[in-house]
Amino acid sequence: MEINNKVIGILGTAKNTGKTTTFNFLLEWSNLESIKVGLTSIGYDGEDIDNITGLPKPRIFVQKDNTIATAEQCLFSLEDKIKTIEKTDVHTALGRVVIGKARKEGLVVLAGPNKGIELQVIIQKLKQQKTEIILVDGALNRMIPLIYCDALILTTGASRHTDIDLLVDEIESMSRVFTLPLRKHKQVSNKELKMYQNNIVIIQKKGNPILLKGHSLINQKTFDSLINIIGNQECEEIYIPGIISDTVLKKIINKYYLLFQRKTIIINNPAFLLVGSRYIGYLKDIIDDILSRGIKLKTLYKLPILAVTINPFYPKYSRFGKDSYEAAYIDEEQLYQKMKKEVPFPVINIKGEGSTKLEMIIKKFLNISIRKNA
């Protein structure tokens, strides 16, 4: 089996949605299949008590020779269990990230690089240790650093919302965003476009691209200057390297769609669009509206979502529970069925027979060696 050293990120929509359970499953599977695995996270995970709710959490169990990248302060209690290979220059709130190898099996705490560019560095260093698969655990609802992975697994559950319909709406929105088509090479190449990191780029039918001051569409000023230029020029595409807020998108839909008709809005990657929305659940409707107004949406970078895992558990505030939170659950079957109906990715309940399904998905993914981007 050819593996091709893929990086899989676990993106959670909130705490306690099953990230670490999914992560642990993949880790266990990799070890069972004797695949050399490298591990890190973009936050802090592996503690046995949740930082906020005080409820017990699953921990990360490594096997001998698993390579990990974690903060030095997390190694204090591990001492002889992890052999230090390198102390990197990547800093975190818990000290520098250290690359190490497990001398024997045991529980670890993973606190890795907290931003994308540093995750790239760490991924390279893990690859240098001859890993065949790299697993990156998410943290909380954070997503930006994870776009440097080769594929993602989304996790969601009652901890995000106890309302099943809202949960489904959200994942649906995320799927819409992640399945946006890649921009195809045009007059201005993708390569050239990718170089514009700090300015919104307006590509005209004729002539050179116009650069706007600012890379994100999140305030009135930038939007106004964009409207001005589009109004006066013959433009075809608008590339936003930064964030687009949902408020701006709504403005476009409601007041300015005529200006944008038949034009293409290009986003840098799905996460940048998601992060601009306070309520991700509504994003799918916004996207539908944009598209129905004849405005095209494309992305410069893309990465696949392999599956969505669901978790019916959530921490319920209770006056009499330990540390005031106790475990509660929503209707698992209903959650599964509704999610399956609306979401184009495999839906998996990791604690059930869903784990076999996930195994198959991962196997399939690892055998595919084409990296999906322009």
């Binding site: 909130a14 705490k15 973009i42 936050g43 802090y44 995970d45 503690e47 930082n51 906020i52 903060a71 302060q73 800093h91 975190t92 709130a93 818990l94 606190a111 907290n114 931003k115 994308g116 560019i117 943290a139 909380l140 609802n141 954070r142 997503m143 930006i144 650093p145 990191q197 700090n198 600012g214 890379h215 994100s216 999140i218 305030n219 930064g242 964030i243 807020s245 408020t247 996460a271 940048f272 992060v275 601009g276 306070r278």
Partner: protein
Amino acid sequence: MDNNTIRKKKVLLIPLDPVHDVALKILNRKLKDRGHKTILLPPDLPLEEIISRLSEINNLDFVLVSRTLGYGVAELLGRFIDMAEAARIRDKAKMVLGGKAITPQLAAELGFDKGFGEKTDFEEIIAYLEDREFLREKEELFRKKISIPSSHTYQYKNNRVKGLLNEITDEIILWSKNKSSPGIERAKLRERMINVSQDDSLADEDKVVKTRALKKEYLSYCDEKIVRFYEKGLLPEKVRKLSSEEIGKLNIYIQQQKKDVNFKKIRHSQSLPLVFVQYGTGCPIMDIAHIKTSEAWGADGVFHFDPSWGARTEGLLEGILSHEEDGSIISWENLAVIKSSLHKETIWTVRAHRGLNTPETAVIAGKLGADLTKIHMVYGSLNGGTDPARLTIDGLEAIKLAAKYNMPFDEPTNEELGGVPAYKSFAGLLIIADLALKLKAQPILKPLFCYSPDVMISGKMDDNYIDFNVAKINSLRSIIDAPIWPGEPIGFMTHSEDRVQSSLTTALHAAIAISLQVDAITIASSDEAYSRGPISLASRIDTLRAVQEAFRFLGKAEIKPTGKAREYEKEITKGIEEALKKVARRGSFVDALYEGLLGSPQDGAYPGRAGRGTVIEG
């Protein structure tokens, strides 16, 4: 690293809380003062607005976010961090999170580069921003041992009193010539025994032989109870030896305690008074636990409180001993182990003062390096149960020893608690002080801040507890420039078993003390009025915190007494002179004691009986 070599940073401060963030504003001011460029955003801006503003600022070095945790806040911060990264702010700027309940683990989970909790020193945050190491004031204790008498001249300001005292103390010195007592003899023998054991030029066998001989002589001056202990190993009732296992563990415990030195500062903007607490639970292990905790919570000094029966027994025991009731036994070994547990800047007093072992205790204290001791023949003989003649001769010897071992000593006027009026007790106080000066010792005056029987009867504290206490201090100060250390404790007889009232009255009396700038005070625990059991550690911390708060509250401000204080002061001073005249006229200090001139049965003072007839003439 001085201020000029630190590269100036550009810092954006974001209060994400809906309400104004004081900490962030203070940090903003401090950073500006150090020359950094800061931008403080208004509170409660929407995230998009913040990110928008952030992305317009060039060359930002740090973004400081302040937010208390709450429902949904973690997710909000997660999104904020993501947006900051997507907006390329993280390319250059470091993201720092501060607030209540923020830990490094939480900061890591949220993706911040650094996290600071609520109790973080501002200095630590600034050091991080300036990229230098933050050195906590660990070994650099802000308090250093000071000599209490060093700032006083001992000059008399009242010549009448000076003259009277001179007469009286000349007589005492004359009277004492060629007199001794079992206590004094034991003290001499004890000193020789200690010298032998510390003499490195002697072989071990020689030491044993010499000590045995000295011990034999020593025992000839001891009570039956003590002799039984040395000859048969029989301990008095309620006393037990610590096992060797306990002693081993105790030494380890002491080593551990001394490692992490992290003391609170009890004073605020004034350098006096020093704050003392007394220990004496009966068990050296518990005492040390109390002492170390008291040190941590700000006490400057501690003093040893021994069992009351110790004062009535001729001779001291040996070994590390535990006592089932109040008071920790005085023995060389007990005191040595306690001394070993003290921080080097903690002041240590061992009280000699009121019993049959006064001079011997002074020897042990001196040899062990105690900083201070306590000697007062007047109180000890009129209220402490020891015979006046015996205690006078012993006390004199003790004063000489105190001088020899460079231990200033305080004189507690506890006879006031029996009912003796303040002026009379001050007469006694000054006599002993003058005696000390003649013997080249350093006396410390200890008037009480108390609600005494005499005050209850005369109504001097009917309105407030301030006037009379102030009058006491001012009266003494008008007579002599000597150190004054109210105790033991301040607020005596004003405490109840209620923890708040008890702590408060201690704190308020501490407020008078700091307002008057006396040299030191001894404070009680909030268990002061509870007599059915030992003092709890929690109750000690209560009053240390309360006193710290009083000092913070008052700062350099003063408490203003009413006009009565001046009136009382004059009365006291006059009373002192009258009492001294009577004693001088009597021509014999010891007889004056017996006859009640410094405290009579009507006052509630009775000459003690312990040691009566034991003065050795010639």
